[in-house]
């Protein structure tokens, strides 16, 4: 009788657990596998995006992660075709702001997450993460045991890393010329300080696609109305009518507002005048052939340059801090005969400073962690009534248990910083016996 009741209970728990796992908020079907099966959590900073802009200013001059092979800014090449040489590590910060707005409305977390708070990260269906919607390297786990790497965790959860990676990708798009892409600025030595010379690099950030394709960004594509007024970036115009780079140019010149305040000073930038043969000719169909050598453009005039941003000396300390993970419990015992059957929650906290990007890895497949990565805020991080800790839900999948009584662990690692990982022992006691058709194990 006891055994029968236990079996029924266990079957119910198993069914509920399976259903719960299938319906967790992060369990959204995607076009292709992203690095995280469930959405990680991220920190959304202030509404004015002051922290994001400070990080962009720093990333624009490689002051955020100098020397870091993944998050550092590569040297940006300058010079015309056949005379291109590595130059300063520098991208226009205004371009980063505008791209960030076009990509994500400058949001690191999902729309449901308030400012100065934490919550599910912003993840697009094509595995674009965060402010800069970084997709490169975010489609498959690249770490050991098919786990996300620390870099992938940081890009998905921490605004500074996300911005730095976006800046790096933009620089890589620029450096794609002349081998892979055309260059702009044939009459200005393709000077990367000139914002207009980033026309092709910006186009490439979204995809260097030709006229007539379904993701075309070609300015002469018949799909885009001609003439078309400039994109105003105020939500009153459909994006359907514009190539990507014109969206970015439009937001540069007409900054979006947050709570009635423009997010940056208007930065007028010039588009290629397509009535001029010097611009129209290179964009001709015959020239849209890899490596696009005949597509090089002069600089659209008048040209504009960003001033060198002033990066506060303590910016790195404020943006990155010295995070250190801690957990509310060192050990959890999961039971199935309680109201929270099969589950336990621990709070991941940051005993250091800054934003901790943590990553939870289970030692066994019967332990499921959700979210797989998240953030915890140091006392120095703005947090208006939000939880500074990150709740980590540990769920036991009974159908994958090898034995009724099992023990494993969850290791919480700081993706940013060098703090010592925290390991949580996870035990499960299944004092029941049952055999249920359709389950993978019988006890």
């Amino acid at each position: 009788m006891t055994s029968c009741r236990g079996a029924a209970l266990a079957l119910l728990v198993a069914t509920l657990a399976t259903l719960a796992l299938a319906t967790l908020p992060g369990a959204v079907p995607r076009a292709e596998a992203c690095v995280f099966l469930r959405d990680p959590h991220a920190y959304e900073a202030d509404a004015a995006r002051s922290m994001y802009f400070a990080a962009m200013d720093a990333a624009a001059v490689d002051a955020l992660f100098p020397g870091d092979p993944f998050f550092g800014l590569p040297p940006v090449e300058a010079g015309n075709r056949n005379a291109r040489t590595p130059g300063a590590r520098r991208v226009p910060q205004s371009l980063l702001r505008s791209i960030g707005w076009v990509e994500s409305n400058l949001a690191m977390a999902a729309r449901s997450v308030p400012f100065a708070a934490t919550g599910p990260a912003l993840v697009s269906f094509d595995c674009g993460y965060g402010i800069m919607q970084v997709t490169t390297g975010m489609t498959v786990p690249l770490g050991v045991n098919n786990q996300p790497t620390a870099n992938q965790v940081s890009v998905a959860t921490h605004y500074a890393y996300n911005i730095a990676r976006g800046a790096g990708i933009l620089a890589e798009k620029w450096n794609g010329a002349p081998e892979l892409r055309p260059l702009a600025g044939t009459d200005t030595n393709s000077d990367p300080a000139i914002i207009e010379n980033w026309y092709y690099a910006t186009w490439s950030y979204n995809g260097f696609t030709g006229p007539g394709t379904n993701r075309s960004n070609h300015p002469l594509d018949p799909s885009f109305a001609r003439p078309r007024e400039r994109y105003r970036c105020d939500g009153s115009q459909s994006r359907t009518r514009y190539p990507y780079q014109e969206l970015v140019w439009g937001c540069l010149a007409s900054p979006p507002s947050s709570r009635g305040v423009q997010l940056w000073a208007p930065r007028p930038v010039s588009l290629p005048d397509l009535s001029q043969p010097a611009f129209f000719g290179p964009l001709a169909l015959a020239n849209f052939v890899f490596p696009y050598a005949a597509m090089d453009l002069p600089t659209p005039q008048p040209q504009h340059v960003d001033p060198t941003p002033a990066v506060a000396p303590d910016l790195r300390a404020r943006a990155l801090g010295a995070p250190a993970p801690a957990a509310s419990r060192q050990s959890v015992d999961v039971r199935f005969d309680t109201p929270s059957g099969g589950r336990a929650t621990i709070e991941v906290s940051n005993s250091g400073s800054g934003v901790l990007s943590w990553h939870a890895v289970a030692s066994a497949n019967w332990i499921v962690v959700d979210p797989p990565a998240g953030v915890a805020l140091g006392a120095d991080v703005a947090c208006s009534g939000c939880a500074r800790t990150g709740a980590l839900l540990i769920t036991v999948n009974p159908t994958l248990l090898q034995r009724a009584a099992s023990r494993g662990s969850v290791t919480i690692t700081a993706a940013n910083g060098s703090a010592t990982p925290v390991t949580i022992s996870v035990g499960v006691e299944g004092s029941f016996e049952f055999g249920a058709p359709g389950t993978s194990r019988a006890y």
Binding site: D126, P211, T213, P227, T240, A284, L285
Partner: protein
């Protein structure tokens, strides 16, 4: 009282009445010209008011475009509005849209939807459409063609029967560029323009047959292809070098009974400046095309007859220029986008206007972008 004096006194009220009648008649006449009364043919404008996540499709009488009747609201991915067919068919309009939940990207599979503005009935005909390529109706308004792309660069031009919803691929090709449906010719063959490194070619194709090259239209990217209402001619814009500027010029092709396409002879006074958005008059006798204002301050659209007779200018804006959208079925109203700049490169602010055949202009006011879906005829 002398007779003359009595007659004079009697004439005063008569004259007053006559003057009043004249004034009244004048007012009525003027109001009619100004569009103060509904046109007898019931031309009705269909447009969408863009919203960040919802486009509101409305109808409005041509002479009172601010008196809008909501038809349906269409939810879409934030920022990405509907992309309509350039013309309606009867009371039907069609558009592509990224439904909510789709990836907010231009290459996400879009839905092809059909709306009957008379009933508000909205149907989804396909879920694999290319957002950027507007669908087109056939001559009878019984079918649509849309474009679908699949990974690997393969594009298909697909015919949808509106009654049954049946789909049939008319043409499929792999390309790094693209094919754009132009319309169904009088013999129901699909015309489409195809881009390649060689430029733009015009093809015709029937279901189950190989496409037939009609014409190499240009070495460049041509645009704004429009089939005449009778299906016997095609207009488009071709970029040409003129006085050290690249300008788009109207071209017209006559489609022969043998399937051949021959360039029509333009009238001697056809405009030579940069031109925009040609549209056919309802009788298929002329093409109305916008003109760049530069070097002047303003330029109205002009209607260019295909028989070579003199062109007819339309009322220009106070400053700037117009880009036509479409004539009402009765040929009395032209919907157009109006710009207050003078060139395509610096077009200034855009708005929608209705230009009457008689030379009046009516602003179609909107707080956000207005998307033209066509004209319908409502009795």
């Amino acid at each position: 009282m002398p007779l003359a004096q009595r007659a004079q006194r009697a004439l005063v009220p008569i004259a007053g009445l006559a003057i009043a009648a004249l004034v009244l008649a004048g007012v009525v006449l003027l109001r009619a010209r100004d569009g103060g009364a509904p046109p007898p043919d019931g031309a009705t404008l269909v447009l969408a008011e863009f919203g960040n996540t919802v486009d509101r499709i409305v109808t409005a009488p041509a002479n009172r475009p601010d008196e809008r009747t909501p038809v349906v609201s269409v939810e879409h991915v934030a920022g990405w509005g509907i992309n309509p067919s350039p013309q309606a068919a009867g009371t039907l309009v069609a558009f592509t849209v990224l439904p909510q939940g789709a990836m907010p990207q231009r290459d996400s599979p879009a839905e092809l939807r059909l709306l009957d503005v008379a009933t508000g009935a909205l149907r989804t005909l396909a879920r694999d459409a290319d957002l950027l390529v507007p669908p087109l109706f056939d001559q009878a308004g019984s079918a649509l063609v849309y474009r679908a792309s699949s990974q690997g660069g393969q594009q298909a031009l697909v015919r949808v029967e509106l009654h049954s919803g049946a789909l049939r691929v008319l043409h499929r090709a792999e390309s790094a560029f693209g094919s754009f449906p132009v319309g169904f010719a009088a013999d129901d063959a699909l015309l489409f323009a195809s881009l390649s490194t060689a430029g733009t070619d015009l093809y015709r194709v029937r279901a189950g047959e190989a496409p037939q090259l009609l014409l190499h239209a240009s070495d460049q990217i041509t645009r704004d292809w429009r089939l005449s209402p009778n299906g016997r001619a095609v207009s488009y814009l071709e970029p040409v070098l003129l006085a050290e500027r690249v300008v788009h010029r109207l071209q017209v092709l006559e489609l022969g009974a043998d399937g051949a396409a021959r360039p029509a002879t333009p009238p001697a006074d056809a405009p030579t400046s940069e031109q925009f958005a040609p549209v056919w008059t309802p009788d298929s006798g002329a093409v109305t095309v916008g003109r760049e204002a530069y070097p002047q301050r303003r330029a109205g659209a002009v209607t260019v007859p295909v028989d070579g007779s003199m062109s007819r200018p339309l009322a220009p804006p106070a400053t700037g220029f117009d880009a036509p959208l479409g004539w009402s079925p009765d040929g009395r109203w032209l919907a157009a986008r109006s710009f207050d700049g003078v060139t395509a490169h610096e077009p200034g602010t855009e708005s929608m206007v209705l230009i009457s055949e008689s030379g009046r202009r009516f602003a179609v006011v909107g707080e956000a972008e207005l998307i033209f879906l066509g004209w319908v005829h409502r009795d």
